[in-house]
């Protein structure tokens, strides 16, 4: 494994400890930081999330991280992994506790979860996810694997971005991908072996990207 540097972005509300514990288990290198220069020097970025949309975007903006993320992820094409709220923040906007603008990286909106059949909200617990095993991030994960969800808002976006869904009184977006941007609604850091495998797949993806850049073949 190469000596890659992953920065787990700490904007004061993410469950950075849990994400760090998962990467520790996989013996990866990481830095927990909220500094722009660390983001600039990273090989890959992870944006965890336990929090409300408005408060999160406010914190990120105060730290000047939105601008830096735009630069690193959209311009420099660094591998990016968004988790839970870290996925929702990529949308154009959200209606969680008022109207808030997101990063606008993907064409989508964050809307309140309104499942049919009077299911309870928030959607908390282990749900089986439908995905295509040929996708890089779902490699080696068994079909119909369970992942841990915990959210009351969900992403509604263009269909060609969606790489995984789950069923909770209607179809719910579970994972999206757009070039180097990969994001999930569930918590892979808290989804036992399946989740750890997914994070391992992301680490492998970073390695491949670094190699790519060194050989300048892509």
């Amino acid at each position: 494994m190469s000596d890659k540097k992953i920065v787990i972005i700490d904007y004061g509300m993410g469950n950075v400890g849990s994400v760090a514990a998962a990467i520790d288990y996989l013996q990866g290198n990481y830095l927990i930081s909220n500094k722009r220069k660390d983001l600039a020097g990273a090989d890959a970025l992870i944006l965890p999330g336990v929090g409300a949309f408005g408060a999160a975007i406010e914190n990120l903006q105060d730290l000047g991280l939105v601008e830096e993320l735009n630069q690193q992820v959209l311009m420099n094409k660094k591998p990016f992994f968004g988790i839970c709220l870290g996925m929702q923040l990529l949308a154009l906007d959200s209606v969680e506790q008022g109207y808030h603008r997101g990063f606008g990286w993907i064409e989508g909106h964050v809307i309140a979860l309104k499942p049919e059949k009077k299911l309870r909200v928030p959607h908390v617990g282990w749900n089986n996810v439908n995905f295509d095993r040929s996708n890089l991030f779902f490699q080696r994960i068994d079909e119909g694997a369970h992942f841990y969800f915990d959210h009351s808002f969900c992403l509604a976006c263009k269909e060609d971005l969606i790489i995984a869904t789950c069923d909770y009184g209607g179809t719910c977006v579970a994972a999206i991908q757009k070039e180097n941007i990969f994001a999930v609604q569930f918590h892979p850091e808290k989804s036992q072996r399946n989740g750890l495998k997914m994070i391992r797949n992301f680490l492998n993806y970073i390695d491949a990207q670094i190699e790519c850049r060194q050989d300048q073949v892509c």
Binding site: G17, R120, P122, H151
Partner: protein, 289 residues
């Protein structure tokens, strides 16, 4: 389909996991970090850690301990005990908790629930309600480890917590705690009907069929504390027992859950000698992630 979670509760007193009986007597079990590690390996769906003397000692949660426990916890970790302000919640989440469990603030400072939900989202806030039966069909909610009556019915308090921003209710029965009599289904129904958020039930489990009763009632999660101690692979045994409830429990760790023999207490029964003989020479390598 969403599965019903099976939650392991670790009641921690002075840094030691204890078995609690009626919120009154406590038997020591062992170190929390080890309990977390084992429950995680056995495929538990979630772990709830309650520090029951933080409030009595008027101190904050032990953040460094939480950091240590969360290292081997690859399932969601909810932490309760001694949380009195937003900074406590922020630090717990930073140190590896995924959700916080709030009990005393329900009556003392309910604004913390609203404020916590505003900053961390309501999915992060679990309102814990300890209920005691005061007359047939009537219950009262208590705080301070079951010592302080609140004057509220559990259903009433649950409704209030939901309105103020809680994302889940953790309902514990003081009478059934450590009683081995199974869940108080009457109490569970009252609270479930009052709220629209997920309800986790706890207190009294001594047999896997007790989980089944609550699951059939429609709860979102079933929790137990004492029941998971002192039995190897207790979580796997429970899940094998509940396997007949097709599609209601999560069965996807590397265990097979094929075991079908249970003794009267719902523990794994002894297999035939021929089966055991074969097992002696079987090598099952651990999957590398």
């Amino acid at each position: 389909m969403l599965k019903v979670r099976i939650i392991g509760v670790l009641v921690v007193k002075a840094g030691t996991v204890v078995q609690s009986i009626n919120f009154d007597k406590y038997l020591p079990v062992g170190r929390p970090a080890i309990a977390v590690d084992y429950l995680n390996r056995w495929g538990i769906d979630e772990i709830t850690l309650l520090d029951i003397n933080a409030t009595q000692e008027a101190r904050s949660p032990r953040f460094d301990d939480i950091r240590e426990y969360s290292k081997s916890c690859h399932v969601p970790l909810s932490v309760g005990g001694g949380i009195s302000d937003i900074d406590d919640i922020r630090r717990l989440i930073h140190f590896g908790a995924d959700k916080v469990v709030l009990n005393n603030v329900l009556v003392k400072n309910i604004n913390l629930i609203t404020e916590g939900a505003r900053l961390f989202g309501n999915q992060c806030i679990v309102a814990s309600i300890d209920a005691r039966r005061i007359s047939p069909r009537k219950y009262e909610a208590f705080t301070n480890s079951g010592k302080m009556p609140t004057g509220f019915a559990p259903a009433e308090l649950a409704k209030k917590a939901e309105e103020r921003g809680a994302g889940e209710i953790l309902l514990n029965s003081i009478d059934r705690d450590g009683s081995k009599k199974g869940y108080d289904l009457e109490l569970i129904e009252q609270v479930m009907n009052a709220v629209n958020i997920p309800v986790i039930v706890c207190g009294g489990v001594n047999h896997p069929s007790h989980f089944q009763e609550a699951i059939e009632l429609g709860v979102s999660a079933v929790a137990a504390a004492n029941f998971f101690h002192y039995t190897e692979h207790s979580v796997i045994t429970v899940k094998s027992y509940l396997k007949s409830l097709d599609d209601r429990v999560r069965l996807d760790s590397y265990a097979t859950y094929d075991h079908s023999k249970f003794d009267l207490l719902g523990r794994a029964g002894k297999e035939e000698d021929t089966v055991l003989d074969k097992l002696r020479f079987e090598y099952i390598p651990e999957e590398i992630i």
